[in-house]
């Protein structure tokens, strides 16, 4: 019986299937004939437009012929359960989509040129199951297909089903995003937020099956009412389960998971930020991890550490969502607030600090605040850049010219003077952020644009002295991206790489700030600032690298990479020749980073308990956190 339904559904969708194959054939031809621009354009169209649309079309046509030919009566009078009918039809139609995906996979796999283009276009779906991730371009069509298929039994007009599917799907995703933000603002550390899309899609499935199995299809109003009722119930359940899932028991217990957000090595210790614990310090010579900011449980995601001081933000409380800027010594002593936005008599009352930085000597601080001001009927966000001494004197400020829906952040306070480097970037919902880098002088009250069309720089953008800034720019006219190093002292720029799509992974400055190591796709490169020399490092051909770091003296280089199928630490000498490898005896979950301390290395996963130290000489492992 299933085979017959399978054949029927395939016959009904043969046109869309043929069209998908036709498009993929066109992509192959374009790729083989070397029409790169056209291939990129068409690939984008295929991924962004055709796949979701095909999924919506197949899904929305799920019960089209039943509506059109009144074949409900025929199917319902056959000896088959309605749930089975729904599932058979769903699986049959899903198989069409899956076959398109599989063909697409092989087309990609056998045409490396095309594979590269798709890799560049690809986005990972927010991991719902830890390690397991899926391409957004697979997940989104699957969700679109399932929702529109579930709704298709309610109405015979496909365009209405497609419209309603997009409308409800988008509304639910946005509602969830705002809800997640709300949870986050309440102080919850959230994991796997994408899970809701699975649950809400399942809500449509269950509501649709139950409606088919239980309702009177001769009464359209009743049918829609019943579907809406079921959907609402399942959505409420989905919200509840998703909330429990993403917070992992934090609602019911004060001891949730830990999350390490930011870390920095300073004078042989690792300073890191845990969302719930605050700023912590690890020194291999001491047994225990020290908690440095004892005043508050909730901290901002990063801190600024320079010249023996730490500048950080603390959240007042879960209920009072205000940030106060604090300073303390690197041993945790002398902690005091610098900027209190919750105090009514403070100049900074209701001004939200969004970015901050310490001066090279740590005697001054700079920070950016935002607040809303009424302009006519509208409320407009105002960004202000401030600078002051750590004793609260010498306050200077300047309102930054930040376009609406843009954000401003401080990225550097170079060692030579008082200029501040500010990044103006598009809002949080833009994937490919195009930003501007400005140099602001508060004494002269001037602002100079240093770079335009900057793609948001990765975290390794600054040299230790903060005098060199690395970023990627996109030249739309020439359709190319370049990796640039900017010397903030003389504003000289050096282009390191240029390509259509520049896929850069990780990067790490040597502790003396002289060399920058970074990975570009599967290659490791080192740039020497003094010699202005870019060199590709010949190491064994790893499939991919996971993390790397310089030793404190800059004489060695530690690489975490798969060797013979397992992750190992590879130690390279100053000429980047392999010196030795250290096996990693434990399994890590999530992304792993490497931080080198005096005589050892810290391996840091993203999950609680996955924070290990290894002595590079003795190869002894110690669980740290």
């Amino acid at each position: 019986m299933f085979a017959k339904i399978f054949i029927k559904e395939w016959k009904e969708n043969v046109l869309i299937f043929s069209l998908a194959n036709f498009m993929m054939a066109a992509l192959i031809i374009l790729n083989l004939t070397g029409q790169e621009e056209m291939t990129i354009y068409s690939s984008g169209m295929f991924l962004l437009l055709f796949l979701p649309l095909a999924a919506l079309l197949i899904g929305s046509g799920g019960f089209y012929t039943e509506h059109k030919d009144n074949a409900w009566i025929y199917l319902f009078s056959r000896p088959i359960k309605k749930e089975s009918l729904w599932i058979f039809k769903y699986v049959s139609q899903l198989s069409i989509l899956i076959v398109i995906f599989v063909i697409f996979y092989f087309v990609r796999r056998f045409l490396p040129g095309l594979d590269k283009i798709f890799q560049d276009l690809d986005l990972n779906y927010p991991a719902a199951f830890g390690k397991f991730t899926l391409s957004l371009y697979i997940v989104m069509p699957l969700i679109a297909f399932t929702i529109s298929f579930s709704l298709s039994m309610l109405h015979d007009k496909q365009f209405i089903v497609i419209f309603v599917s997009i409308l409800i799907g988008t509304a639910l995703i946005f509602a969830w995003q705002y809800y997640v933000y709300f949870l986050w603002a309440q102080g919850f550390y959230l994991k796997n937020e994408g899970i809701f899309s699975l649950f809400f899609t399942l809500s449509f499935v269950f509501a649709s099956i139950l409606t088919l199995a239980r309702s009177d299809f001769s009464q359209v109003g009743k049918k829609i009412f019943r579907f809406s009722k079921y959907l609402l119930i399942f959505l409420i359940i989905s919200f509840f389960i998703s909330t429990v899932w993403v917070t992992r028991g934090q609602i019911f217990s004060s001891n949730g998971s830990f999350s390490i957000w930011y870390d920095q090595v300073y004078q042989g210790s690792l300073y890191f930020q845990d969302f719930r614990q605050g700023i912590l310090r690890y020194n291999p010579d001491r047994e225990k991890i020290e908690k440095l900011n004892k005043e508050s449980r909730f901290s901002f995601e990063s801190f600024s550490l320079r010249a023996g001081k730490i500048l950080f933000l603390q959240i007042k409380s879960r209920r009072q969502w205000t940030h106060d800027l604090w300073i303390m010594n690197t041993d945790g002593t002398g902690a005091r607030p610098l900027v209190e936005s919750s105090e009514k008599d403070s100049l900074f009352y209701k001004k939200r600090t969004i970015s901050f930085i310490l001066s090279p000597d740590a005697n001054r601080v700079a920070f950016i605040t935002t607040h809303d001001e009424k302009v006519g009927e509208r409320s407009v966000p105002i960004h202000t850049l401030w600078r002051m001494n750590t004793d609260g004197t010498g306050l200077k400020s300047r309102i930054l010219d930040v376009p609406e829906s843009h954000e401003a952040s401080l990225i550097s306070w170079p060692s030579y003077g008082d200029d501040l480097v500010v990044l103006i970037t598009t809002g949080p919902f833009v994937r490919q952020k195009s930003s501007q880098i400005r140099l602001v002088d508060l004494d002269e009250d001037t602002s100079q644009v240093l770079a335009e069309d900057v793609l948001v720089p990765p975290v390794w953008r600054l040299s230790p002295s903060q005098d060199y800034l690395t970023y990627k720019i996109r030249n739309i006219d020439q359709n190319k991206e370049s990796l640039i190093i900017l010397d903030l002292k003389n504003l000289e720029t050096t282009e390191l790489f240029s390509a259509n799509f520049l896929k850069l992974w990780k990067g790490k400055w040597s502790p003396d700030g002289r060399k920058l190591a970074f990975s570009r796709e599967r290659e490791l490169w080192v740039y020497d600032i003094m010699e202005k020399k870019l060199e590709k490092i010949s190491i064994r051909n790893y499939e991919y690298e996971i993390g790397f770091d310089w030793t404190m003296d800059g004489q060695k280089f530690i690489l975490l990479a798969p060797v013979d199928g397992e992750n190992q630490l590879v130690i390279l000498d100053k000429k980047f020749q392999e010196e030795k490898t250290i096996k990693i005896p434990m399994q890590f979950k999530g992304a792993i980073t490497v931080r080198v301390l005096e005589n050892g290395a810290i391996l840091k996963g993203t999950v609680k308990g996955h924070f290990w130290y290894v002595d590079l000489e003795t190869e002894e492992w110690k669980k740290v956190y």
């Binding site: 029927k8 012929t65 359960k81």
Partner: protein
């Protein structure tokens, strides 16, 4: 003989309209049940409820010994259904439909399907959407019969058929089906067609069965009476079982059910100069009951 189908106290409403209101019926195995009713009285609704296409608001339906629950489809393997309208996928060819439909039925008889296709001059390559209404009904009949059902439910099947086909269907096919012992629930608005076919009669009116009995018994008990009086027709004729009364001068026509000796005596007591009685046709029975 046991009942193959029983409906008890069925209720069904569409909005504020009560279509079935405490409806009950039963069909004996191997018999033909003729269900009559005006358009919109709920015949199709009842059949769709029996076939599990729509749920009933209240009441129970039994097939053989088991209660039919909505969305419990196993009994449908033994039930053939011919709808009053086309219910097939238009894009399919007749051959596609036969193959698709065969997968639902374990007793599917391929030879019977072929024989019936030949008999009705239907070619397998034809697309269903190109068929006329009559051809689609023939196809429905083939689909239902090739499954070799124990119960056949016909929802006004002959309305779109041409005369020779209808004749073949009523005289030939139905007889063949009955020879195989198949029970039939036959709903039709072409009342005269059921005459000579049905064993049992049910008349549906205002959501209820206003008559349900053995057809022969109904025929014997349903009488038309023509009365002629000397003077005018006496006022207030009130005879037990009087369904209809029509007066024209000194003449009076009555429809009586059930006919009995007491009724006869009651009429004679009115002293008509002439009294003729004759049996009603099925159509007349129907008209008398629903008017």
């Amino acid at each position: 003989m046991s009942d193959i189908l029983r409906a008890k106290n069925l209720y069904k409403s569409f909005g504020r309209k009560h279509v079935l209101n405490d409806f009950s019926m039963s069909l004996e195995e191997g018999k033909v049940y003729g269900l009559l009713g005006k358009n919109g009285e709920g015949k199709t609704t009842l059949i769709r409820m029996i076939m599990g296409i729509i749920p009933c608001d209240k009441g129970k339906i039994h097939y053989k010994e088991s209660e039919i629950k909505f969305n419990h489809p196993l009994y449908k393997k033994e039930v053939g259904y011919i709808a009053e309208e086309s219910i097939f996928f238009g894009w399919m060819t007749i051959r596609d439909l036969m193959a698709f439909n065969s997968s639902f039925y374990s007793k599917w008889n391929e030879n019977r399907a072929k024989d019936l296709l030949d008999r009705f001059d239907l070619e397998g390559r034809l697309k269903i959407k190109t068929l006329s209404r009559g051809m689609k009904l023939k196809l429905g009949l083939i689909v239902a019969l090739a499954a070799e059902p124990e119960l056949l439910i016909l929802d006004d099947p002959t309305s779109g058929m041409d005369v020779p086909t209808r004749h073949d269907f009523l005289k030939g096919i139905i007889s063949e089906i009955l020879e195989q012992g198949t029970s039939i629930l036959f709903s039709s608005h072409m009342v005269h067609e059921l005459e000579g076919i049905i064993d049992h009669l049910g008349i549906l009116h205002d959501g209820k069965l206003i008559l349900e009995d053995n057809f022969e018994k109904v025929k014997n008990n349903a009488k038309k009476v023509h009365l002629v009086f000397d003077g005018s027709v006496p006022d207030g004729i009130d005879i037990e079982g009087m369904l209809t009364k029509q007066t024209d001068g000194n003449k009076c026509d009555l429809g009586i059910y059930p006919w009995s000796e007491d009724v006869k005596k009651g009429l004679e007591a009115l002293h008509p100069t002439k009294m003729d009685t004759e049996s009603m046709t099925l159509e007349e029975i129907f008209i008398h009951f629903v008017s």
